[in-house]
Amino acid sequence: MQFQHGTPLDYIVLIGYFVAILGFGSYFGRHTKSTKEFFFSGQRFSWWLISLSCVSMVVGSYSFIKYSAVGFSYGLSSTQSYLNDWFLAPLFILGWLPIIYFSRVTSIPEYFERRFDRPTRIMAVIFILIYMIGSIGINLYTMGVALYPIIPNFSVFQWAVIIAAVTGVYCAFGGQTAVIMTDVVQSVMLLLAGFVLIFLGLHFLGNTTPPEMSGWTSFWQGLPQTHKLPFSGLVEPAEFPMAGIFWQDLFGSSMLFYFANQGLIMRYLATKSVAEGRRSIVFTIIVLMPMAAVSVAGAGWVGKCMETFGALPDEATAKNIFIHVTEMVTVPGVFGFILAALVAALMSTIDALINAVAAIAINDVYRPFVAKGRSDRHYLRMAQWFSLGATFLGLLMVPVYMQFSSIYQAHAAFTAAISPPIICCVILGILWKRFSGKAAFHTLLLGGGVTIASLIWPQMIEPLAATHGMDPGAGIDYFRAFFLLICCAAIAVAASFYFTPKPESELQGLWVGSMAAAKRMFKGREPNDAETGEKIRLELVSIAERREDATGAVVTPFAEISAKDAERLKGREGDLIYLADQRWYLGGLRSLHATLTIGGEEGKVRVSAEFIESGRLRVGEPVVVEKIL
């Protein structure tokens, strides 16, 4: 079935959105002058900015359509995929985040080389690049498939070209800053779009049901009893069993997202500190994920109520419920906005992938193997070319996916094959110091083999599915992630006892038992984090002389602060501090890290002019200063 909803006003809204995103990305990316800026935005951002930008990574191109369909069929339990991530939080917050941040790794493969060895890194590079470039193509393809029935003026491929052009341009020229800032806007848009749809849907229900019923009452009474519950049946229905969703989503998709998604890792490496990253992930999982769960499925819930009250046309099905509800409750202009939100969901997924491909291409292939020892300016230029190249390669995949559905399925199978071994290597790498390079290599190799075998002979999973009383065949796919994680863990443990582990001295800062060493290496001195000081406002004073500290893992400017102000910070000579523009809503866009040195007048902080310029701070104005480590 085809829909013809687009009015001129809807097109104007959509075109306006494209122009705004291009302008926004270019504006915020114009200061990108180094690879650190291009990939990690100079590690300067506040928690709320990163949290907001992450929502649009979670919500993909097909989320509104997929979860509206699930919400229509199974009710509020559609949220269960979004509401079980908290179980992974300890490992991410206390393990993975501090390890990647303090060790200053730039990519997952780089972590694999430092934690394991070079062959493991190379294998990870191959796996991850194929997966990510294929994913760019799949996202472009699914977006075209989603948009074509709504606005058939453009073909699936033409939609993919339009979106690839806009995304590729701001990613290539603006880097991570442009990606983060545009993702913040896109996250707000897609959350807002979902809530606007629900609000309009409730209004619609209020107008179509008896006058004594408000929109909310109609909504609650219109949902069947089973649709009101937070979980579906444990093993039924076979298409959406709670136990299957739990294993597939939590131990498959969510683990891959939090522990092996290069885009997410780069997002958290862009925070100003580990503490800020932790705040961000807490806010994301506790506040924003539930909001996203409601936003993407709301149209399906409203659609179910419409069906209960006989207000839904006969041709409406779960598959097209999002479009039907949108058409019924919106007016021209608002429809265009909802459409723009759908596009936003896609673009924000793709931009993270493009930036991540460029990061791996530069940091794991080009810099170490192709062109060693070149200037940072050269690598930055190449990163921009790699971003455009990744977009183009993804676009080339679209006609392939369109013609050969087996390629699409092959990519899905490949993703399934690499996910469990990579997840297993990351998690055991974090937690177990005995887990060696050779063990990791064999886990990737043999684990991938077992995964492919399970795709060819799915009956391998049947005994595990049967433990939950699921019929052979019905719930097998849901238990694949669980089955493969068990297999990969068994291979990893057996190989770890067979091969000699790496000496502990070479694992400092790379596993969870060496956090103190990680902080020491990051700072270059003993960490000072036993006391939290105040955040204080000081006047920024510029000095002509370049004064920098090269003790730590990166060069930082010295910031001179009086002894009295340092006491308020609970800071000591040599501590890492952070100076930010006093306007909180900039989220760290104008800021820099510095090494504390005691001296000078009270109420003032003195920094070399050159560094002030790189942090985009304004001399003579107050800055907020805080101790980091």
């Binding site: 079980n84 300890p90 206390l94 519950l229 932790r278 506790i286």
Partner: protein, 63 residues
């Protein structure tokens, strides 16, 4: 009702949560004496309890 599903999710998920929390707070890892680590541990436990309470209330309201 959803009580079996609730027990399943919080039984298995909760066990994974507590084991990883234990492994990440052993000596040499996150430190209770460091304010940032302490805040994170408190938030982690509060978040788990919060999610659990939310699901319980949700089931009761839907019943």
């Amino acid at each position: 009702m959803n009580w079996v599903q609730l027990a399943y999710q919080y039984g298995i998920g909760g066990a994974f949560f507590l084991i990883t929390l234990f492994l990440c707070t052993r000596p040499g890892t996150a430190d209770w004496n460091t304010p940032s680590d302490r805040r994170s541990i408190v938030w982690l436990i509060a978040g788990l309890v919060g999610y659990f309470i939310m699901h319980v209330i949700w089931i009761l309201l839907a019943s």
